[in-house]
């Protein structure tokens, strides 16, 4: 009998195939989870236990695990300062990028001014400009302006390099707003500012949310920009942690909880705003 035409046989085979697929995906899932679990368990072990054996040995003796490293971290002035710096850098950057890009996006979509098309094409071209090329010239510029080594300097740099994508995304989203809606608002005598705040921003909320989440994570997770533009009093968590990488082996009890602290915020944001997050990252990946 031809097996393809035998439904019972087909079911058996599909069941078997499905079992293999499930097993394969479970293995992949475990492989993905293990490094993260390793970090988390390591972050809760003392330096002595870490020196004695791998983190997996702690699974057999959970007595090793404690939050001591975390309380030590919270007492570490450098770390807490760095954590606040991270907040002070990423929140204003996000607000500024969203605000400035929304204004520009609306103008590029609906207002008339000379050079609108070519300027917007330039913005599209700037999408992929690597951050690296800006480091040196902007460092010189900030040095002259007294912004080098300050939080506003880091913020400004991030805002500038976040703008092309933000303007691109919002302009395209705003362009989809029905023309009749805007014209009706204009006929009612609304000023452009009023139309922008009362109509465009509310309608554009989904795109703005995705952009805000993407931008927030981008800046929260940045190391390179802050490595150059921040000094020891304005550096974020990523830079503070990387400065301890050199003595990696002996610093695991500081690095592991620090890394966990720095990743828990984005991961919570990720699970809280899954849909917006995925859309934001998908759209932003062209950068």
């Amino acid at each position: 009998m031809n097996p393809a035409t035998n439904p019972a046989m087909n079911t058996v085979r599909r069941g078997l195939g499905n079992g293999l697929v499930q097993a394969f995906l479970v293995v992949i899932g475990l492989v993905w989870l293990t490094p993260l679990a390793g970090l988390f368990v390591s972050s809760m072990r003392s330096a002595q236990d870490t020196a004695k054996g791998g983190w997996w040995t702690a699974l057999a003796s959970p007595g090793q695990l404690s939050f001591d490293n975390y309380s030590a971290l919270l007492k570490n002035a450098g770390m807490t300062q760095a954590f606040w710096n991270t907040v002070l850098i990423s929140v204003p950057t996000t607000a500024l990028v969203v605000g400035i890009a929304a204004l520009a996006g609306y103008a590029f979509a609906w207002l008339d001014f000379p050079g609108r098309e070519p300027i917007f094409l330039l913005v599209v071209a700037l999408l992929v400009v690597p951050v690296q090329i800006g480091l040196l010239p902007v460092a010189k510029l900030f040095g002259q302006l007294g912004l080098f080594g300050t939080i506003p300097g880091v913020v400004l740099f991030h805002v500038a390099y976040g703008l092309p994508f933000a303007v691109f995304l919002l302009r395209n989203y705003f362009a989809e707003i029905p023309k009749e809606m805007l014209e009706a608002a204009r006929m009612d005598g609304g000023s452009e500012w009023r139309i922008f705040t009362r109509l465009v921003l509310p309608v554009g909320r989904p795109a703005i949310a995705s952009l805000a989440i993407f931008q927030f994570l981008w800046v929260w997770n940045d190391m390179l920009v802050a490595l150059l533009f921040a000094d020891s009093s304005s550096q974020p968590l990523t830079v503070e942690l990387q400065s301890q990488i050199r003595q990696f082996g002996s610093n695991i009890d500081v690095l592991a909880p620090g890394a966990f602290l720095s990743l828990i915020v984005p991961v919570v944001v990720f699970f809280a705003f899954q849909r917006h997050f995925v859309q934001g990252v998908m759209a932003g990946s062209v950068k």
């Binding site: 700037l126 040196l136 400004l156 452009e192």
Partner: protein
């Protein structure tokens, strides 16, 4: 618009003041529009456009910035071994990482649709996208640690290796000179004198710390006094050391421990006749032996140093290891994007193929992949752009001494400009090279946008 027309009509034949007002409102509108775009344009101009132009100019000057050197920095780039290494490594990244990611993403996207917990799986794999490269770097520095007692990857490799190859329990053990055992060239130990069935032999070793004895090792003393049957060759392998002092060299004393798990071979005429492994008290025996003279051998495998796994972060493997960490971060992205493309495929085509008796592989190969080609291209191009700029992961994962083996364009540009190199001419040239490499992507974006506007 309508309002203005009405006003114009009401104004009658004298259209001039109306036109003037129209012009005025138009100018006002333009000024408002410019106010809307101005903040963005100022920032982009000062911090993005100007730096690009500045870097291009700076790249034609020497380290001090005072002397024009033409294209020297660009030729230097391909002559200096460090930057050349960076260019090579970036090429490896660009060739390997996007292809692996697209392939893995495609396979997982197809497979995950077949299970009920697809959403949970996608969330798990996508989550690393939320994690910073720094945190991922620390995670993988831990996982790749060379010491199998610290790095989970080497712990796994070593346990798999030992499961197949066996472990040697006594890397430090050796025999005392002149106590009956001689060392072979390969590191094994042989008894000198010929032994015959009915004999027993006590093989004493030293150099094992009492704390390193396997758990369950028992005293060798009782077994050492047993006598062998006529067709039997027996004995003990023991640690010739009495804890706390006392005891006689070359003799099994009451407190001395056996060495369990030691391989022993019986050799006659240069050929291995039988082999045994010692019990917990170190005893071994060979039964049913023919008459003749035998030599006992402790093969070298007993004393081999333990397998230490793979040096992931050594010069040879560091780049593949970092690419592995990169896969951990980006696979979810490729999978979700390809999955979205998969969901948009025409169901009828797939169903029709199934009805015609095509199997899953044929459907995948002949229908799914060709239809997905545009999505796969977008994923691939996106990954290429991102891979070219990889910085943090390399900077964090590669240990100091291996940094120069792992270096890529972005890290090299950093090192040359700020990290001690202090050659901002060459650094600018590297930045410009990075920009040139992404220009195809720039053209691609602009073209795609213009097409979408028509």
């Amino acid at each position: 618009m309508t309002a203005t027309t009405l006003v114009d009509k009401a104004a009658g034949p004298s259209a001039a003041p109306g036109a003037a007002r129209k012009r005025r409102t138009r100018r006002r509108g333009r000024i408002i529009a410019l106010l809307f775009v101005l903040p963005a344009l100022v920032l982009l101009g000062a911090l993005v456009v100007y730096p690009v132009l500045f870097s291009v100019g700076r790249s034609f000057f020497d380290a001090s910035g005072n002397r024009f050197v033409g294209g020297d920095n660009y030729t230097e780039m391909f002559r200096d071994p460090a930057t050349l290494k960076a260019i090579r490594n970036t090429a490896i990244w660009v060739v390997v990482a996007p292809a692996l990611l697209t392939g893995l993403g495609l396979i997982l996207a197809v497979l995950v649709e077949k299970v009920r917990w697809a959403t949970a799986f996608k969330l798990l794999l996508f989550m690393p996208m939320a994690v910073s490269f720094l945190a991922a770097g620390i995670i993988f520095r831990l996982a790749y640690d060379e010491d199998p007692d610290k790095g989970v990857l080497n712990a796994a490799v070593v346990s798999v290796h030992d499961a197949f190859q066996g472990t040697s329990s006594y890397p430090t053990a050796r025999a005392r000179d002149g106590q009956g055992l001689t060392r072979g060239q390969d590191g094994s130990y042989l008894t000198g004198a010929g032994l015959s069935p009915g004999d027993s032999a006590d093989l004493g070793l030293v150099g094992v710390l009492p704390k390193d004895l396997p758990r369950g090792a028992a005293s060798a003393y009782p077994a050492a006094s047993r006598t062998a049957a006529p067709d039997e060759l027996r004995g003990v392998v023991y640690l010739d050391f009495t804890p706390g002092g006392g005891g006689k060299q070359g003799k099994v004393d009451p407190k001395e421990s056996g060495l369990p798990g030691m391989k022993v071979e019986a050799i006659r005429d240069g050929r291995s006749i039988a082999s045994a492994t010692t019990a917990s008290d170190g005893s071994f025996r060979f039964t049913g032996l023919d008459n003749g003279t035998y030599t006992l051998k402790l093969p070298a495998s007993n004393f081999a140093p333990p397998y230490q796994g793979v040096s992931w972060l050594g010069p040879a493997l560091v780049t593949p290891a970092i690419i592995g960490a990169y896969l951990w971060i980006w696979t979810g992205f490729a999978m979700v994007l390809i999955g979205a493309g998969l969901a948009a495929l025409p169901r009828d085509t797939l169903e029709a193929a199934r009805m015609d008796g095509a199997n899953e592989w044929q459907i995948f190969r002949r229908i799914t992949v060709p239809l997905l080609a545009p999505v796969l291209t977008v994923v691939f191009v996106t990954l290429v752009i991102n891979v070219m700029k990889v910085f943090d992961l390399v900077y964090i994962i590669a240990p100091g001494p291996v940094q120069e083996d792992a270096t890529v364009l972005a890290t090299q540009m950093w090192l040359v400009s700020f990290g001690g190199g202090n050659n901002q001419g060459l650094g600018s040239a590297l930045g410009v090279l990075l920009l040139l490499l992404v220009i195809p992507a720039m053209v691609f974006n602009v073209r795609r946008f213009r097409r979408s506007q028509r």
